[in-house]
């Protein structure tokens, strides 16, 4: 009976099952639905199967099988990516790494930890905080996103202004190459290994060059003190001028975040309201950390700068509890938009910090012209903007309008010498927009490098790079609710 049933199954599925075991594979359409997209929900497609390897050997065997049989495949972590990097466009075999979720070792003396790719970002900090250590990159989804996914996307976070993004914290990688060979880069965490910096190249390659199966990361000692300031402005431009002046004063804040009026309306209607004044135009959330004795002086300077730009009210967090509430309010900002709009689309442009006022005006213009509200939540300190375009997918044509407005925001960033993505990646969402910042030749140069690793383009096909001619499929309008998570 069982044999008869198995005979109906695709022979590839049978072979993949042999590698991972019957309990570790999904292939029935109803089981695959949750894998039809990631945090970018505008485009959806079903994979052929999802497999859950338990170790590097299984990943290598799966990859070898796909390579030998010319089956497209891709790796997936928690699926929180915001640009569609884990969406199966070609009926891929999805290699989910969520069952490889061990913390393999922590070496406090050498300040490093080794994790499997499915290990959740925040768990690392939680596991070492009792000894006073932490892992610096802190994307807003850190309570659920995996470090493997962070490596693929070169994830950032609010505190990367001072401490850098994922690539600055990776010391070694074990990688399964697209033909199934397992390699080690960076050895046991010795810096500057001789040879081209493949670790730097792989980090942020959006899963197109290899599948990371083990990661050695740098861990840091927690700062002695932290001070957090909330400053309310009646004018967005004055708020953004204050950002520039704080940096110009020689302060390196740990974080410097900004939200505008629409965003504030969202977070106040969301799960973690903190009572921001409803009539305020913008606020800055500023954090400095380091040796306690030096923080007071920096806070005084920050307050002075805010005063000089006519701040309405400014307060310093009185307790860790208050600080945590402010951060929860900020970090759940994207999701909170769901409270004020049926759908929203998040963008991820970067601009030179000093161009903030003019770009904000341009975004306002885009909002006016499209007739869609745009909320702005951003890492102001490093010029990384997250315009959130609010729309209603039930209204015919509005999804398309939202996508166009998003593209226009990225164009505005590119036009002032910025970039189309600071931390969310290109994925499928922004691959055409790559042309805003790179020439054909430059894109070709990157593809030449991809071909060295992934010559048959079976691994995460159709991501990151524009097609030779513009592909309208990518911007296909899907009527599903867009519920992008933070």
């Amino acid at each position: 009976m069982k044999r008869k049933k198995q005979n109906k199954v695709d022979p590839h599925i049978r072979s993949l099952t042999k590698i991972v075991g019957e309990s570790e594979i999904l292939y029935k359409p109803e089981d695959l639905i949750s894998y039809d997209c990631d945090g970018f929900t505008v485009h959806k497609a079903l994979p052929k199967a999802v497999v859950f390897p338990k170790n590097t050997e299984e990943v290598a065997a799966l990859v070898q099988y796909c390579h030998m049989n010319h089956l497209p495949f891709l790796a997936r972590g928690a699926g929180t990516g915001l640009s569609g990097g884990a969406i199966p466009l070609n009926e891929e075999i999805i290699i989910s790494l969520v069952k490889m979720k061990q913390l393999l070792c922590v070496d406090y003396e050498n300040r490093q930890a080794v994790v499997q790719p499915g290990y959740v970002n925040l768990k690392l900090t939680n596991s070492i905080s009792d000894k006073g250590y932490y892992y610096a990159p802190d994307p807003s989804s850190q309570y659920v996103c995996t470090i493997g996914g962070n490596v693929a996307e070169n994830a950032g976070g609010a505190h990367c202004l001072k401490y850098g993004v994922t690539t600055n914290h990776i010391l070694g990688l074990e990688v399964v190459l697209p033909h199934g060979e397992v390699i080690e880069i960076g050895g046991e965490g010795a810096p500057d290994s001789p040879g081209y910096d493949l670790m730097g190249l792989l980090t942020g390659s959006e899963g197109t060059l290899g599948i990371v199966t083990k990661i050695t990361v740098r861990i840091l000692k927690s700062p002695q003190g932290k001070k957090t300031v909330l400053a309310y402005f009646d004018d967005v431009e004055e708020g953004s001028r204050a950002v520039s002046d704080i940096i110009a004063a020689g302060i390196v804040p740990a974080a410097l975040e900004m939200m505008d009026k629409t965003a504030i309306e969202g977070v106040e209607a969301g799960t973690f309201p903190v009572g921001h004044p409803p009539d305020i135009e913008a606020f800055l959330l500023i954090e400095v950390d380091g040796i306690m004795a030096g923080l007071e002086e920096q806070i005084e300077q920050i307050l002075e700068v805010c005063e000089s730009w006519n701040v309405r009210e400014v307060k310093v967090a009185k307790s860790e509890e208050e600080r945590s509430r402010w951060w929860a309010n900020r970090k759940t900002g994207f999701g909170a938009m769901g409270a004020i709009s049926p759908d929203y689309l998040v963008q991820d442009g970067v601009i030179p910090r000093s161009r903030l006022p003019e770009v904000l005006k341009e975004i306002e213009k885009i909002s006016r012209e499209s007739g869609l509200r745009i909320a702005n939540i951003f890492h102001a300190g490093d010029g990384n903007l997250h315009p959130l375009i609010l729309f209603d997918s039930r209204v015919p044509g509005e999804t398309e309008k939202a996508l166009q407005a998003g593209t226009a925001c990225l164009k505005a960033c590119a036009d002032v010498g910025g970039s189309i993505t600071g931390e969310h990646g290109v994925g499928i969402e922004k691959k055409e927009e790559m042309r805003f910042i790179f020439t054909e030749e430059e894109i070709e140069a990157q593809l030449d490098i991809r071909d060295v690793f992934n010559p048959y383009d079976l691994l995460n096909q159709g991501k990151l790079f524009p097609k030779p001619s513009r592909c309208m499929d990518v911007k296909k309008i899907v009527k599903d609710t867009v519920a992008v998570q933070s």
């Binding site: 046991e188 910096d197 002695q224 380091g290 030096g294 991809r450």
Partner: protein, 423 residues
Amino acid sequence: MDTQEHVELHDLYGNRGSEWHEPVSEEEICERLKRAHEEGRKVAIESGGTKRGYGGARGEYDWTLSLKKYKGIVEHNAGDMTITVKPGTTIAELQRFLQEYGQQVSLDPHWPEQATIGGVISANESGPKRLAYGSARDLVIGLRIVYPDGRIIRTGGKVVKNVAGYDMNKLFIGAMGTLGVISEITMKLRPAPKYESLALVSVPEGEEEKLRLLAVEIQDAMIEPVTLEILTPALAEKLTGTRAFTLLVGYEDVECSVKEQEGWMIHHKPENAVLEILHEEEARKFWERFAVTVPNTHTKEKDLCAVLKAGTKNMDVFTMMTTALDLGISHLVDIEAHGGLGHGISEYVVRGQQDNIIAVIEGLRAAAEQKGGYIVIKQLPFHLRKKVDVWGRNPGHFSLMEGIKKAVDPYGVCNLQRYIGGI
């Protein structure tokens, strides 16, 4: 440098072009490489010329492309804290320019008056302060590369946070010029420190373990030193006059924070240790002297000399250092060394007879590899580079590196055979 001198240096260190070209514009660089590509010429690339003895299995190339005259600031956005410079700009010129704005490029490689930013990026040079500020890969946000066929390819951008496409910047940092000529470098800047000091902690011979324990304690405490550099007694003697293992603990922050950390150090000074604290100008002067203690290819040396770089786990630097001194005694060579206990890079100057130097290199390499680390030879005369491998054994994934070289420079125009495995 006169022509006679550079001919002599090239005789000693190889990496020599029969013809010498000094482009002053990007167009000239493009033209030169395009011609090389078409005519099948081999080009040696340099700028300050301080690293001629670093890698390279060829004595001669057809041309030397010297970027020493292709220098200057292209764009400085003080408000954005970014700068774009041409490769021939020396580190000192760059820092002097930024000083006026209270800013700095947080890189402290050796020989700032001679070493150029192009060379420092290409060789991935760093100094003790990488502990706090990172190395070139953490600072470079964009590059313009003249590809070996003369095309101009931009990588990265001009903003401090950017994940669009592959992080191609990383490929060219430390690539020893084997993937093209870097014609512009954009970096992020930091504010110059408001106050700085340097604590020198030295211990009598035989008690160096105390410094290792002190470094562990410092790292486990909530203080934030910018250096944790250990000096061997011979190097310490040159810099401080005292022949003793010495730990350099640097602080950079607002004054009250620096003072607080100095207080911690005074309180935790190991028994029998001598503690001296240099402030501001004194500390800066010390670092200036430190930066010129390890010879480069322009330095006149009486004896045969090799300079080695080791990369290991952070605290293994300490063991590497003591191993080096033991090897020095058994092979009758003089060794001066320093290394960062918080960042894992250490450096060794070995002087003596040829065979003894090679034996020390091999011994130290074995010790490093046993700990999962490596040794590369940063400076050695050309005839000796044929006897001992500069880069150590090829990694298991060397074929990817070969593939990258072939993809970018299929005809081997740029610095052929300069890098690992002869790429």
